[in-house]
């Protein structure tokens, strides 16, 4: 069995698949893709709704179809694949400890590693809801897997906490399968999901969306029997006296995603406290040279298409790294989030790349704002360049281009700020 590879990719979802295909296309040989599930595709096979691929393929696909485009390709390429294989440790000198039922414990040596482990859902414990601990409480993604893959219906009368995309999509899915979704609750005064999902998943089926509301108590002996919902104030604190009881047997939680970085932390890679993912340069390379990260393990994306794009950036970057033809800047340019910007990826720019025209920066805003300018500001407070946007919302990732011509040798910091236009 082969135990030495030029590139080992951890995770066979959209990020890992894109890295493998793009790296191979650029001439990287000896690629191994490790996936802990039975199948490739990550979360896509359970996302049976449409809306995938509009950016990347310019056509509308469902999640399983989007995944299949890449899985079909990878089966025709020179990429070794091991499914049902769990990576338990990586080391700074790029050894990977993994295990599966056929091979037992494996120690694989790699010249480059790509972290593409995706993210997981926040649970009831993460948001500390009071009350009893009956059956009937699921994260939205778990319920999605039961209903769409395993064939189990999870409940009849449902309350959904969180108006992110998964929460809204599951509201529609439960309704189509015959459940009654009594309400979707959102603690913020705005939806954190795409507008299209609000219209086609909630409004189409007359499902009420209650802003500034949360669940403050869950009751039930064996199964969930009722919840107490409460209005919250500007500081997200429950307002006494606004409690309301709703009978239900099921609660779905769509309360945020956390990049799954246990391997990353253990190897000593620094994480960005806001994204929950590693700090990376424009190649999506972490602070350990030759270890890269992309997709939801780096920062949570709203579209799979952007994950693919990021995977392709890494696929090309791995090739350059392995060839050793990279030229570092005399000092990196650090990129900081300013007014109303939660985070920016990449966090720094390290390389001089002949012929490069621009660098795409991805960011998320903290709160919705209309008619704004996104200013890229240098160390001395000068605006390097600015982009107008009609609207920015936390639910939709924003991207702008940083033109290469602006990056002179002395530039140390760039801050990105949102200003009213």
């Amino acid at each position: 069995m082969k135990l030495e590879y030029d590139l080992v990719i951890i995770g066979g979802g959209p990020a890992g698949l894109a890295v493998a295909l793009e790296a191979e296309k650029n001439g990287v040989e000896n690629i191994l893709l490790l996936e802990r599930d039975e199948y490739l595709g990550g979360i896509l096979p359970q996302c049976i709704h449409n809306g995938f691929g509009l950016q990347y393929f310019k056509e509308e696909l469902t999640g399983p179809e989007y995944a299949d485009r890449f899985i079909t390709q990878i089966n025709n390429h020179k990429v070794d694949i091991k499914t049902e294989t769990m990576v338990v440790k990586i080391t700074p000198n790029k050894q990977i400890i993994a295990l599966n039922r056929n091979d037992g414990l494996l120690c694989i040596k790699a010249r480059a590693i790509v972290l593409a482990m995706g993210c997981r859902e926040r649970t009831r414990e993460a948001i500390a809801i009071a009350g009893s601990r009956p059956a009937g409480i699921f994260t939205a993604g778990t319920a999605q897997r039961y209903i769409n893959i395993e064939g189990y219906m999870v409940g009849h009368e449902v309350i959904i906490l969180g108006s992110g995309d998964i929460g809204m999509i599951m509201a529609r899915r439960m309704t189509l399968e015959g459940a009654k979704v009594k309400a979707v609750l959102e603690i913020m005064p705005f939806s954190t999901g795409l507008i299209r999902n609000k219209v086609q998943c909630l409004d189409d089926f007359n499902i009420p969306l209650k802003f500034n509301h949360t669940i403050t108590r869950i009751e039930g002996r064996k199964r969930v029997e009722k919840v107490t919902i409460t209005q919250v104030d500007k500081n997200l604190q429950a307002i006494f006296g606004t409690e309301e009881e709703i009978h239900c047997d099921t609660i779905l939680l769509s309360v945020g995603l956390i990049p799954e970085n246990e391997l990353t932390k253990e190897v000593g890679i620094r994480l960005d406290p806001v994204t929950g993912g590693p700090v990376v340069n424009e190649n999506r390379e972490t602070e350990i040279e030759g270890i890269f990260a992309c997709g939801n393990v780096l920062h949570v994306h709203d579209l799979a298409d952007f994950v693919t794009e990021e995977g392709e950036i890494v696929g090309r970057a791995v090739d350059e790294y392995l060839k050793g033809n990279r030229k570092f800047r005399s000092q990196p340019i650090k990129i900081f989030p300013g007014d109303n910007i939660a985070y920016v990826v990449p966090q720094h720019i390290d390389f001089i790349v002949p012929g490069r025209k621009k660098i795409k920066l991805f960011m998320r805003v903290k709160k919705p704002e209309e008619r704004v300018k996104i200013n890229l500001i240098d160390d001395k407070g000068r605006v390097l360049t600015a982009y107008k946007k009609r609207i920015v919302t936390p639910g939709e990732m924003v991207s702008v281009f940083l033109p290469e011509v602006l990056l002179d040798d002395k530039l140390k910091n760039i801050t990105i700020s949102i200003k009213r236009d």
Partner: protein, 127 residues
């Protein structure tokens, strides 16, 4: 005079529009920020269409279900009726992506097609 309120999904602004109509004909559309809103409002008012995605039971497959979609969009008012019809369907593995699971769903002329591959397994100990 009738009034319908809809939210435009053409872009993230999500304009809240009001459509006024008389005898099923639009008399005015207000609240849109751009011409895309008018087009969206007209389509949504006259004949709102949706792609339906769901699952169908599989016999003898590696998984108990296969995900499916309507190949084209169907009238929004038929979504729940279509679900009842689709619940009656069983398909034998192997299922290939793109395979027609049912043609002419509810007389719409639109086919229901599989959106993933499901392999056949000879005996499934768990089913």
């Amino acid at each position: 005079m009738e009034q319908n309120k809809i939210i435009c999904i053409s872009c993230p602004i999500g304009c809240r529009m009001t459509i006024q109509s008389k005898d099923g004909k639009i008399t005015s559309i207000i609240g849109n920020a751009c011409p895309k809103g008018i087009k969206y409002a007209e389509e949504e008012f006259i004949n709102p269409l949706r792609i339906l995605t769901t699952t169908v039971k599989v016999i003898g497959g590696e998984l108990p279900l296969v995900s499916v979609k309507t190949e084209k969009s169907i009238p929004k008012r038929l979504l729940l009726k279509a679900m009842v019809e689709i619940a009656k369907i069983e398909v034998k593995a192997q299922v290939k992506i793109g395979q027609v699971i049912k043609d002419d769903l509810l007389g719409t002329g639109v086919s229901l097609v599989a959106t993933r591959n499901i392999k056949r397994v000879d005996s499934n100990l768990f089913s």
